[in-house]
Symmetry: C2
Subunit: 178 residues, 2 copies
């Protein structure tokens, strides 16, 4: 039986930061650089930026996020040897549900809807590997947790870290045939 | 640690049949009785009714379904002793996602969004008990499967059967303190 990989959406296959940066730049007249917020969430790091988080609740916010480089091709490769589920803790943002579904249809058209999960608490998910950017999800997982690098987890040291999708390709290539 | 109960939505806490019967009656001028379809899905049992299934894809279909009798109060009671997750294989009907979320907010306002899951294939869900009307979900479950009676499963004999929410209350009352 194929082993199962659980793959998160936001900040793993969908990049929310360009949109946050666009909004911040429109409002403040300057575009933050990585070093201005790295190590924190952008809305905790920058002055008067807390309200950026409220954009996550707006219909359409998740509809046009850029795809993380190489995530499509690597996921297609992984599906040859693993059972892959794409999941998102979308229930906190109910206006995102259809946007996220449509986004997957558009950018991951090869990916079956049967293997998509929108949830709140990821402890309910069962798998062998979890690729996620949040400690709260990885720490309750009973399989192998893999931390996808994001600004808010940059200084976490407790997990095997994946900095990009080419590192994920490499990690699983080394396990070929398991 | 509390044991976990996974509870399905359609035909378990949300009754889709009154709506199918309304549509059929509007179109055909007579209202089918239980004996006209019991043992099959209504759209397989009745003449020229296959198209009823397509209503599942329409926005709004799931928005105003009646609540299964006693499901609210029994779920509230179960939450005192168990960790409860409400789940739905909603991914097949993407237009239902927000409708189902809103329906839960309206009728199960006491229920936390963190414990709601919309998925395709329920094999990804981990729990101790699963209350569901579909063999395909129950047969892959590694915990205790409990079949909630629905017309399409009426003649299945392989599972412990729950005919209504009072039987579910009774089943778990007998396990008090586990």
């Amino acid at each position: 039986m194929k082993k199962r990989i659980l793959i998160d959406m936001d900040e793993v296959i969908a990049d929310i930061y360009p949109k946050f940066l666009d909004i911040f730049e429109q409002e403040n007249g300057w575009r933050p650089q990585k070093e201005d917020y790295w190590g924190q969430k952008i809305y905790d790091a920058l002055p008067d930026a807390q309200h950026l988080r409220s954009y996550l609740h707006k219909p359409g916010f998740f509809a046009d996020l850029p795809v993380m480089p190489h995530s499509q091709e690597v996921i297609q490769e992984l599906m040859e040897h693993y059972e892959v589920f794409i999941n998102s803790a979308a229930m906190e943002f109910p206006n995102s549900l259809k946007d996220k579904y449509d986004w997957l249809q558009r950018h991951f058209a090869f990916f079956p809807w049967r293997n998509v999960v929108f949830c709140g608490d990821k402890r309910v998910l069962k798998g062998d590997y979890m690729i996620d950017d949040h400690v709260k999800n990885l720490q309750c997982f009973t399989g192998v947790p893999l931390m996808f690098t994001a600004t808010h987890n940059a200084f976490e040291t407790a997990y095997t870290r994946m900095n990009n999708w080419q590192e994920i390709r490499q990690f699983f290539a080394e396990r070929a045939g398991e």
